[in-house]
C-alpha cells in the first residue's frame, strides 16, 4: 500500500539534498567500481599465472618410473615367503619407459565419463647438432590435435602454424631458445642425434615459446610418428598418457584409482603443483577483503548522511506522523532513500567497474616470458558483478537500517511541543 506515495516522499527528500545524496552515491560507486576492477584484474592475473602451468599440465599423468621391482624373486619363493629378506645392491629391472598396453588403457580412459580427453605423449632425449657442437634437448612426441584441444598447444607456437607439425612428415617445432642457439629459421632442416646414436633430419615448421625460458632452450615438439621413428620404436610406443578431467578436484582420487587399475605410476596435478592453488586463493582473498572494506566505508558515509538528514527533517517527520503516517511508513521512506542511493550508486559502480576493467584490458603488457599475453589480463566473470550488486544493496540497507529506525521512533509530540 501507498508505495507510490512513499517513493514520492523519498524522492523529494533525496532531491532536496541532492549534493549530499550525490556524495553518498559516489561513495558507493567508487566502492563498487574498485571492487569490480580489483577482482577482475586480480582474478585475470591469477588465471593467467595458473594457466601458465595448470593449462599445460595434465590433471593426471600416467607413466613408468625406472625403479626396482617392489617384489623381488626371493619374496615370491614359497620357502622364504614369511621371512624378512634383505637384498643388497638392487638394480632396476631392464624395463623400458614404454607403457605396456597403452592402446587399451587410452581406450578405457576415453570411455570414462569423468575424462575430458586423453593425449598420449613420448619423451625422447636427443642432441641438437649445431656444427660440431651437440646441445642436449628433449623432443616431445605429441598427438597434435589432442594436444591442442586439451592443452592449447597452438597458443604457444608463436611462429609458424602448429598444424604443419601433423601434416609435414619429419617436422619439428623448436623451442624458441633452442632455435636461437641453432640459428634455425622456419623451413630450415636441422639434425638431431638420438640417445642410441642415430642421426635424423627434421624440418623446422614453427617456434614454441612456453614463457619459461629454461624450458624453451631444451624442449621441442614433434608428432607421435616422427618421434617413434626417431627412437626406432613401433607405433604402439608411448611413454606418457596425459589425462584431462572435467573436474580437476577429482584428480587425486582418480590418480590413485588408475595406479591400482593399470599398475603404472599416476601423479595428479594437485600433488605436482600444490603451490599454485595456495597462491591464487590467498590473492583472491586479499582482493575480496579490500573490496569489501571499500564498500563498508561507503556504507558509513551513507549512515552519516542519513543521520544528518533525519536531524534536519525532524519537523517534517513529526508532521508526517501527526497527519497519519505511521512509524512503519517513515521507516520505509528512509530505507527507500538508502536503497535508492545503493541502487543508483551500485549500478553506476558496476558500469564504471566494467569500464575501468575494459580500460586496463587495453593497457599493453609485454613480457618476454608470456608471449601470448599482449595486455593486462582481466577476468570478466559475471559473478563479481553479482556479488558487487548484491553487496552494494546489503551495505546500503544496513547503513539505512539504524537511521530509519530512529526516524520511525521520533515522537511527534516532543518535536511539536518543543517549538
Amino acid at each position: 500500500m501507498n508505495l507510490k506515495l512513499i517513493a514520492d516522499v523519498s524522492k523529494s527528500l533525496l532531491l532536496a539534498r541532492w549534493k549530499q545524496t550525490l556524495v553518498a552515491a559516489i561513495g558507493v560507486t567508487f566502492g563498487i567500481t574498485m571492487f569490480i576492477t580489483l577482482l577482475s584484474f586480480m582474478s585475470g592475473l591469477n588465471d593467467m599465472l595458473d594457466g601458465l602451468i595448470l593449462n599445460r599440465t595434465p590433471h593426471i599423468r600416467l607413466y613408468n618410473e625406472i625403479q626396482a621391482s617392489e617384489q623381488q624373486p626371493v619374496d615370491l619363493y614359497p620357502a622364504y615367503k614369511n621371512h624378512h629378506n634383505f637384498v643388497r645392491s638392487l638394480k632396476p629391472k631392464d624395463e623400458l619407459l614404454q607403457i605396456h598396453n597403452s592402446a587399451p588403457i587410452i581406450e578405457a580412459l576415453k570411455k570414462d565419463s569423468r575424462v575430458l580427453g586423453v593425449a598420449p605423449k613420448i619423451t625422447a632425449q636427443v642432441f641438437y647438432n649445431v656444427g660440431s657442437i651437440d646441445l642436449t634437448g628433449v623432443i616431445n612426441g605429441i598427438d597434435v590435435e589432442e594436444e591442442n584441444r586439451l592443452y592449447f598447444f597452438s597458443t604457444y607456437v608463436t611462429s609458424g602454424n602448429y598444424i604443419d607439425l601433423k601434416n609435414t612428415p619429419n617436422s619439428i617445432v623448436l623451442g624458441k631458445g633452442a632455435a636461437e642457439k641453432m640459428m634455425a629459421a622456419i623451413g630450415d632442416v636441422i639434425q638431431v642425434t638420438t640417445s642410441k646414436g642415430e642421426r635424423f633430419q627434421l624440418k623446422v615448421v614453427g617456434y614454441f615459446q612456453s614463457g619459461i625460458s629454461d624450458i624453451d632452450k631444451v624442449q621441442s615438439y614433434a608428432n607421435l610418428n616422427t618421434t617413434q621413428k626417431l627412437l626406432g620404436e613401433s607405433t604402439g610406443y608411448i611413454t606418457d598418457i596425459q589425462v584431462k578431467l572435467y573436474d580437476i578436484l577429482q584428480a587425486p582420487k582418480m590418480a590413485k584409482e588408475l595406479h591400482n587399475k593399470f599398475n603404472i605410476e599416476a601423479i595428479d596435478i594437485q600433488t605436482a603443483n600444490s603451490q599454485f592453488e595456495t597462491g591464487s586463493s590467498v590473492r583472491t582473498l586479499i582482493s575480496y577483503a579490500v573490496g569489501v572494506t571499500l564498500l563498508i566505508v561507503a556504507g558509513f558515509g551513507i549512515y552519516n548522511i542519513l543521520n544528518m538528514m533525519i536531524y534536519e527533517k525532524m519537523d517534517s517527520i513529526a508532521i508526517l506522523k501527526a497527519t497519519g503516517f505511521s512509524g512503519n511508513d517513515v521507516n520505509k521512506i528512509f530505507i527507500t532513500i538508502a536503497l535508492s542511493i545503493g541502487i543508483f550508486g551500485g549500478a553506476l559502480g558496476l558500469l564504471f567497474g566494467f569500464g575501468l576493467s575494459a580500460l586496463i584490458d587495453q593497457i599493453p603488457f609485454n613480457t618476454a616470458s608470456l608471449p601470448t599475453v599482449k595486455t593486462y589480463p582481466i577476468n570478466y566473470n559475471p559473478r563479481f558483478y553479482m556479488i558487487g550488486g548484491v553487496f552494494s544493496l546489503v551495505t546500503t540497507y544496513m547503513a539505512g537500517y539504524f537511521p530509519s529506525r530512529k526516524a520511525s521512533k521520533i515522537d511527534p509530540v516532543v518535536i511539536i511541543r518543543g517549538k
Binding site: 506515495l5 523529494s12 513529526a318 497519519g324 503516517f325 512509524g327 511539536i416 511541543r417 517549538k419
Partner: protein, 226 residues
Amino acid sequence: MSNIILEAKKITKFFHDPLTVQVLKEISFSINRSEFVSVIGKSGCGKSTLLYILSTMDTDYEGELYIDGVAMRNRKEAELAKVRNEKIGFVFQFHYLLNEFSVLKNVMLPGLKLGKYSDKEVEHRAMEKLKILGIDNEALKNPNQLSGGQKQRVAIARALINDPLIIMGDEPTGNLDKKNSEIVFNIFQELASAYHQSLLIVTHDNEFAAKTKRIIEMEDGNIIRM
C-alpha cells in the same frame, strides 16, 4: 447515530521527569458534532498536554478516550496513525509545511496517505480547500515563498483535506499578528457555521476564545468551566 464525536473519561497524566507531577486530574468531557470549542487556561495548566492526548499522539495516560465511539486505548501505533489520518485535522502554532513540496502537494499528502480517492481527485479536492481559504493562487508555489498568515491557511487546508471528524488546533494564531489572527479565526468560524466542522482549539488568547460557542477553562490539570 450519536452526536458525541469525542469523549474523554477520567483522563489522568503524570510527567515523571525530573519529578513526578500530575498534570491532568481525571478530566472528563465530550464534544458534539459541529461544535466549536476553545480550551483556555494559563500556561502550564495542562491544556496542550490534554490536546495531544486527545489527538492520539500521546499514548502515555490513564483513563479512557473515545473518538467516534471507538476506544483509543491500547491501540497499535499504526492504527492510531490511521485514526489521525482519517478523523483528525491538525493546525499547530507553527505551520509545519514541508519545503520539499509545493503548497498543493503539502495539502495533498494526508489525502494521498489515506488513499480513499485517486491522485487526481485528491488534487482536485486540495484545490477546492485552498479556494475556500482564498489561497488557490499560491498552489504551485513553495511554502517558503508565502507569508506567515498564508502558510497557516495552507496548514488549515491540509487539516481539511480528508474531511476530518474534528480539527484540533494548538495555539493556531500564536505566531500571527492581529490581522492574520482575525483571518484565521474567521476561517474557523466559517468552517463551523457553513460546513458544520467540529473544532477544538487550544489558545491563551481570551479574545479569540470569547468568540467561540463553547469555552473549556482549565487550571492546574482540572476543568473549572465548560
